[in-house]
Every structure is written in C-alpha cells, then in structure tokens.
Symmetry: C2
Subunit: 441 residues, 2 copies
C-alpha cells in the first residue's frame, strides 16, 4: 500500500487545479487502457498478469535454480531497461527478502569503460559464474562487446560445452542476432515480449530471471504489481486515485514552469530505483523539446551537497520523496553516558525513527524555502511492495506523457549518438557520415 502525501504542494497544486485536469486525465486513462494512444503497441506491461505466460514463468524459476546450483555469481549483460530494472529491485530490496541460496549479481554491457571491464574480468576467477545476456537484437554495441568478452571468457574457462550450459539469453522470440546465436549454441532462452519496451520490462523475463536467481520471490513481485494494477486502475478520479493525482500534479507543476523533478530518498539502497525512475521518465517524457528533467537525491548525504540549492536556489523544481516508513533493519544510538556531542537526547532511539523525523523536517524546510514537495510512502519495502511501486511509477509515467501529448513508449533520440558512433568507428555503410563528422571534429 503506497500512501501519497501532498500537503506541501499547496498552493501550486490544490483540488481545483486537479479537478480542471479531470477530463484530460480520463482521456489519458482511456488511451492507456485501450492501447489506442501513441505507442499503443508497447503497453504490454500494463496488465502484469499477462506479461509472462505461466510456462515461461516456470522456466524462469527452473533456470534460476539451475543458476543457483551451478554458480555463485550471475553476470547480466544489458543496457538501459535491460540493466536498470533488475538492479533497482536487487539493490532496493533488503537482503532478508532473499532466500539464502540466491547468487550475487554483477552488471556488464552498459558502458565501454576499459577500467571497469578489466576489473570485472579480473575478479570472475574468484567465483563460479553464469551469464544472462539480455538484448532484443543482439547487436547493440555496448552489450554485444561485453558479451563477446564474457563468452570468450566462459568458453576458455569452462570449455565450449559447459559454457553453453551456463549462458542464458533473454531476447526476441524469433528474430535477431542473439536469437540466432542462442539457437545455434543451444543456450536456454527467454523472451522479451514484442509489446514491452526496455524501460517497462523489469516485470518481464528481462528483470525476472536475475531477480529470481538472486533469491527473491518473483511471484510476490508480480502480485505486488497486480495490487497496484487493480488499486490504481479502479477509478479515473484524479482527486482520489493517488497514482493519477501524482501524475496530474507533476504535469501541472511542469506547466507552471517547474523544469526539474527531484526524486529524493533517505535510503541509499534506493539509488538504482531512482536511476530506473530517471530512465522511465526521462526517456518517456523528454521529447518534442519538452519534458521534466528527472534528478535524484539521497539524504542526508545530499542535504550537505544539493540541499543548499534545493533550499535556496532557483525556484524551478519540485521534489518527490520516496520514503520507507518502517525498514526491517534495526540500529540503536548508543548511550555514551555524557552529552559532549550534544546527542544525549537521541541515546537509545532507533536510527530509522530518527531518519523518519529527518524526512518530516526536511519536507517542511524545503516547502518553506519555496520548493513544492510531495511524498510517496511505502510502509516497508518488501518484494511485494516493490512490485506495487514499480507498477505505480509505470502507470504514472504513461498517464503523464498522455497528459502532455507525447508518446510515452518511443525513444527516437537514442539513435542519434549511435549513428555518429558507428560512423566514427568506421562501421561499414557509414562512410559518408564519417567524412562529414570528421570534418567537424
């Protein structure tokens, strides 16, 4: 159950502002549910019970058990949505949610840093390793390079036959280079559904295999997403449906001139959840020379970094807090028998309780500084509430984009750098572009 507190958005956002958006919200809900809006072919994520067929889900669980039997470490190879979703869940969940036989997960193929890649390859020998390569096409440069390296490593270390047994491919059902290779080599394979784009794919095999291999309960994750699907799909009333309320509020704030949304948390483990959210929103909304700039803060850390700007800088942003109210971890401030550090009044108290008061104090301080803010509050972060939160954000993104009149599900701008990079790297077929670019360097 997600709670949404919005008091600190007043007067920028109030019920009248939202009520005026009700017709647009209804239209946006209809576009999403009917799959008739722009990008409608990519709304397969919408009903979480229909993303992965039962047989595929069983196969994922079996494969994850096999990975746990054969390995200590699973290296997933992927970029964008084939990377961030799994990482957000894996690092955002407390470890006591995972079963003890879960493997460690490492991430490759999302950059081309020689330093980082060298370090990854150097420490693989310390573990028994399996690989999950995730790519719709199999030809995206960054993951394809990493997979070349890791495939060579695996075959060298384990021999060609055993390597095949340890490589799992998540890819297109029928076409593409990775599907072809997987068929030739006999890798176990999982399907990236045609109607689910990368940044909406965490609850598909893309995210589910590494999450299951790490020992988390993917049924609970999907059940949480179903909770959210039902709760926030039950009505189109912007005033009482918190997902719609959040979506409409952020759009209204953007229309009022706010250019930046800062997703702030007090839990460093949510770092990659925020990174996932940044992709989800930046890539969905950032088009047609419009769109909120999504940013993240981790407090207290960033209260002593970005805090000054948020408190007193340019007033062109708003803040959304992502709060876990009752973490399972317990740390008590020790009594030192004195008050030299001025903390005697905190002795014996739970750190998580102090952290929660910090959030309340910060939200009011930022509000008083002219930074409108609202809070999404999860009671405890469990596998199930993680699923709920993921689907909440996915729906909010879809609704926000339709309110703004942009296609939430394409990313045409991502091709621009690729074409330039191909040209500069001398890829066959890009000779003319290469010449034009070189003249400009």
């Amino acid at each position: 159950m997600i709670r949404y507190e919005q008091k600190n958005l007043h007067p920028w956002i109030n019920d009248d502002v939202l009520k005026a958006l009700q017709p647009q919200v209804e239209s946006a809900c209809e576009l999403l549910a009917s799959r008739k809006g722009p990008g409608g072919d990519f709304i397969g994520w919408y009903d979480p019970s229909k993303v992965v067929p039962a047989a595929e889900l069983d196969a994922i669980k079996e494969a994850s058990k096999r990975i746990q039997d054969q390995s200590e470490l699973l290296v997933t190879v992927g970029i964008g949505g084939s990377y961030l979703g799994a990482r957000a869940v894996l690092e955002g969940l407390p470890w006591d949610e995972a079963s003890e036989n879960g493997v460690d997960i490492d991430f490759a193929g999302h950059h081309m840093s020689a330093r980082d890649t060298e370090m990854l390859l150097d420490h693989l020998d310390d573990y028994e390793v399996s690989i999950n390569v995730i790519s719709k096409s199999g030809t995206t440069t960054e993951p394809a390079i990493a997979f070349r390296l890791l495939k060579a490593y695996m075959e060298d270390r384990y021999g060609k036959d055993e390597a095949k047994n340890r490589i799992y491919a998540t890819t297109d059902a029928k076409k593409g280079a990775l599907r072809k290779l997987a068929t030739e080599e006999g890798y176990a394979t999982f399907v990236i559904p045609d109607d689910v784009g990368g940044r909406f794919s965490v609850l598909s095999p893309v995210g589910l295999l590494p999450i299951a291999a790490a020992g988390f309960d993917i049924d609970a994750l999907l059940a949480g997403a179903m909770d959210s699907f039902k709760t926030y799909g039950a009505s189109t009333d912007v005033l009482t449906n918190d997902c719609l309320r959040y979506a409409a509020s952020r759009v209204a704030l953007y229309r009022q001139g706010k250019a930046i949304e800062i997703l702030s948390t007090f839990e460093p483990a949510f770092h990659y959840l925020i990174e996932w959210w940044k992709q989800l929103n930046g890539e969905s909304e950032g088009k047609n020379r419009s769109g909120l700039f999504p940013a993240g803060c981790e407090f207290s850390t960033d209260l002593h970094s970005m805090g000054q700007w948020i408190q007193e800088g340019q007033r062109n942003a708003f803040e959304t807090f992502l709060i876990e109210e009752k973490p399972s971890a317990s740390v008590v401030v020790p009594d030192t028998g004195d008050d030299l550090d001025g903390l005697a009044y905190l002795a014996g108290r739970e750190l998580s309780e102090i952290n929660l008061e910090a959030w309340k104090g910060v939200s009011l301080a930022h509000y008083d500084g002219g930074m409108p803010n609202s809070s999404l509050i999860v009671e405890s972060m469990t596998t199930r509430t993680m699923g709920e939160l993921i689907h909440f954000f996915e729906r909010a993104t879809g609704i926000s984009c339709y309110l703004q009149g942009v296609n939430p599900f394409d990313q045409p701008g991502v091709e621009a750098y690729k074409a330039n990079m191909f040209a500069l790297l001398g890829k066959p077929g890009f000779e003319a572009q290469a010449q034009a670019l070189r003249a400009r360097l």
Copy 2:
C-alpha cells in the same frame, strides 16, 4: 594538463560573448586572489602549498603508515565535504596509482539509514579496522551518530586503549566537541583549517589522510593542484585562460536561460568526482533563488536513460564532458571469426579507443539536438592530474559565483533542515519550534 574544447558551444558562446564579460572576469579574479570578496575568510584553499603546514603533512604521512600497519580497512566518518572529496579521489583514480600497502576505505556518517549502517557494522569483524572521524564541530548529527556507534564498536572489540590508538580525528584546531574528546582520549588529531570550507577541503587534512592511507601519493596530488594554481592564475584573460573561459561560459549560458549543467563522463569511476562537483557547485551557487542545477550523467549507461531527454527534451540545459583520453586499462574486443553481432569491424580494437569515439559522436549528436556542450579533457587520470582537475574546478566555482554576485563560500540554507529535525526529534531548546512543526504535519 587539462584541455578545454568549446567548439560545440557556438553560437550560444563565442569570443564576443566572452570578451564582453572580461571586466567582470577581472573583478572576479581580483576578489578571489585578494580574498576581499564575499566569503573572503574562506579562501584558504586557493594556494594549495599553504593549506597544510609541512609538519602537518609529515604527520599525515606517518599516520597513514601507521593505519596501513595496523589495519586493512579505514572507516572515515564525515558528511558533505568531509566525505565527498576523499571519495571522489579514491574512486576516480586507477588502482595502479596506489601503493600495494594501501588500505581499503569505507564511508560512514553521511546518512542515517539503518539498513546501510547495519550492513557496515556487520562486516567490520572481517577486517582489522581504524577510524578517521572528520568533523569541525563534532556535533553534526549524522557523523556524530555514526561515531558513537563506531567508537563503541572499536572499544568493545579492541579495548579502550587499543581503540584510542586506532581512532584519528580531523577537526578544529582548538574548539568544539570532537577536539575536546580527542584531547581527553588522546587520539591522533589533524586540523581542519579555519579558512577552508567543507566542499573546498579535499586537499586539506580532511581528504589527505584517507587518500594517503589508501596508498596514493599526496605530494603528487598537491603538486597537481599547484600546477593548476599556477597555470590558471597566470592571467585574467577570459579568451586564453581555460578555467576562466569555462567559468564565464557557464555563467553566460545561465544568463541565456539555461537552468541545468550536466557533467557527463564515459568513465563510471568518475561517479563520485561528479558527486563532489555537484556539491561544489550546487552549494556554492544555489542561493538567492538563483543558480545552475548541477546534474551528472555516466555514459554509455545514461545514453540509454537520460540520453533521450538530452537529445530531444526541453532545451534548458548545457553539458560539460569530463573525459579521460588515455586510460591505463587495456581491454581488446575479441575476434569471434564471424559477424553475427555486427561487431566484426571492432575486433582487435581497444575498448578505450571505442569509448573515445563514442564521446566524439555523442558530443556532436547532442550539439545537433540543440544541447550546447564543451569538454574538459585529461590525458590520463593520475594522482597529479586529479589534483590539477580539483583545483581547476574549485577556481571555476569561485569565479562563477563572483560573476553571479553570490558568496561562493557560505551555505546558509543547510541549517533549515537541521533546525526542523532537531525540533521534531525533541532536542532540548527547540520546544516551541517543535510544537509549531507538529501542528503542520
């Protein structure tokens, strides 16, 4: 030697735009060098040779050797500038720059997450541990709580006498709770200079002790800062002095309506260097309801996340690339004997060379999308060039703020959350404020 490429800022920035700022730049340089501008009492960082007296520098080196002899892990306790500077250097430098006897460094005291703190405390038993607690006052809530926990842990594990031998305090020369405690307990101590604020303190004992303990050459780091101090202090000409050119360009872009500066890199190891830069700029400039919003991107990762927004989103930002041209790491793309993944044209080539072409392609693609960008290029990231880069950014921040007419060296907004937090936590003396806040929750 830092190279500054600015071609992709045209036409937003050209020589005429910059020339018109020359009088303001001269005034800003004079305010900084004379220490007569706002915040002039905090420009102690300006001449890197005068920040740490020779005897203190020797003491830091001796202490770092002692830490290396007694421990495998040094936990530094600090927040803001007492945290980010050291982490930026430690993670930003390649490990082959460190001597083999360097210890691992962990960071505590910059948040109040029970989950993260529990994990830290849980794994300390696996190592021989020393502590470096860094706080001007000793009463800042976050590091003071962490230090209570770690002091109790150390005394419990090693006994009170040996614990004293393993705790190092970096604090005010004379006053404050931590100075008092350190004197009473007999900790080795190091001085946070009065004229150096937190975010400018990495080249003071604050950063130097953990950096030295990790095995890096702090003389080389300081020599690099001196290189920068001399190079960019030699003239006040905005057209030929790259540090002034960078500072003036970013201010001119802000005045043209750009609200966000994105510092982008292609090296994930620069993550904390970017975080340090975000504090340096956000906390210096974000005041008087003005100031650029500093953000960071790590490519290729974020090309498949924030890349869409940068390419086609709202045109209210500009980008600065932080590039390492020749990393020491070497990884070669393997030849697979086929071209199934379309990468045959890359077989046998160095990953770092490919990464460099990606930067060139990206910078042109973003420029063509209407995103002005420039690049700061370091040939190889060494301890010395790291020092150079740090001082380059510090000077650029000071100059930018004086150009904007704000005090670069205060952070009045950081107090607001603290007062609210104290009140809500029931700190004696905050009763009235507590009542007022509770009524608003």
